[in-house]
């Protein structure tokens, strides 16, 4: 992971962005999923599926997620690569 950014939309919802790069010499399939957490620590939203992102060697991708609920304050990125 190269970078993680957090911002707010015009409506006040939290938006996160992660820059991911395949640093290996082989093609990788990255599976990404997001989970949103409120300020009190409770999980407010969880994505029911993995987003499959094939990445060529050296390729860079940016994944973005916007919270659906106003109380979602923090984001947990779940990442599996193969």
């Amino acid at each position: 992971m190269l970078a993680a950014r957090k911002s707010k939309t015009d409506g006040g919802y939290t938006r996160v962005q992660f820059d991911l790069r395949n640093g290996a010499y082989l093609r990788q399939t990255i599976n990404v999923s997001f989970e949103w957490i409120a300020a009190d620590g409770t999980v407010t939203e969880s994505q029911p599926n993995w987003i499959v992102t094939p990445l060529e060697p050296g390729a860079l991708t940016t994944v973005t997620a916007t919270a659906l609920k106003a109380q979602s304050a923090e984001c947990r990125l779940r990442l599996i690569s193969r």
């Binding site: 993995w50 987003i51 659906l68 599996i80």
Partner: protein
């Protein structure tokens, strides 16, 4: 003796099949088919489109009134397009990000009988779309691409305020299990 051995082998092979088990529908051990849209393809395309849609200015504030339009299935595979739409509408409705107009006959009748003075929301946007496919092969390697297109139309002005296209491409020689 040879016949008995062959029979024993056949029984062994038949007995070695994988029995059916329950799998997590959001997991990574699902069947990946080359010739059809899998349940996880709807989930992938739907969640990516949902993220794109809620980032559009139309969804920045309040809960716009949304009506579902037609989603055309232009693939050779027969499936219900609600599989895609539900990936968008379920999270949006449950998070109070849209007011979804019910489209069935009962709802329409209720709207008609309540008259113009009633507090019945009117649709501001219509969501419509199309699902297409493209197939090609090189030798024994087959490739299937399924194109999911959605457009959000503002009824008042009759213009598209958001549109998105997501492509799910699968390649291989045979169906497999896993991502």
């Amino acid at each position: 003796m040879n016949k008995l051995s062959l029979l024993a082998c056949a029984v062994l092979i038949v007995g070695c099949g994988t029995p059916a088990t329950y799998k997590d529908p959001s997991g990574r051990e699902l069947v990946v088919s080359l010739d059809k849209v899998n349940i996880q393809d709807f989930a992938t395309a739907g969640s990516q489109m949902l993220q794109s849609m809620i980032s559009s200015p139309s969804f920045s504030k309040g809960a716009p009134v949304l009506q579902l339009g037609s989603i055309t299935n232009d693939t050779a595979d027969n499936f219900d397009t609600a599989l895609l739409l539900s990936k968008l509408t379920v999270p949006l409705v449950n998070a109070n990000r849209v007011t979804l107009l019910d489209n069935d006959a009962t709802a329409n009748a209720a709207r008609a009988t309540s008259g113009s003075n009633a507090n019945v929301p009117r649709a501001e946007y219509v969501l419509k779309g199309k699902i297409l496919e493209d197939r090609s092969n090189a030798g024994s390697t087959r490739q299937s691409s399924f194109v999911f297109q959605l457009t959000l139309v503002e009824i008042k002005r009759g213009v598209a305020v958001w549109t998105e296209e997501k492509i799910v491409t699968k390649q291989g020689t045979k169906n497999a299990v896993g991502f």
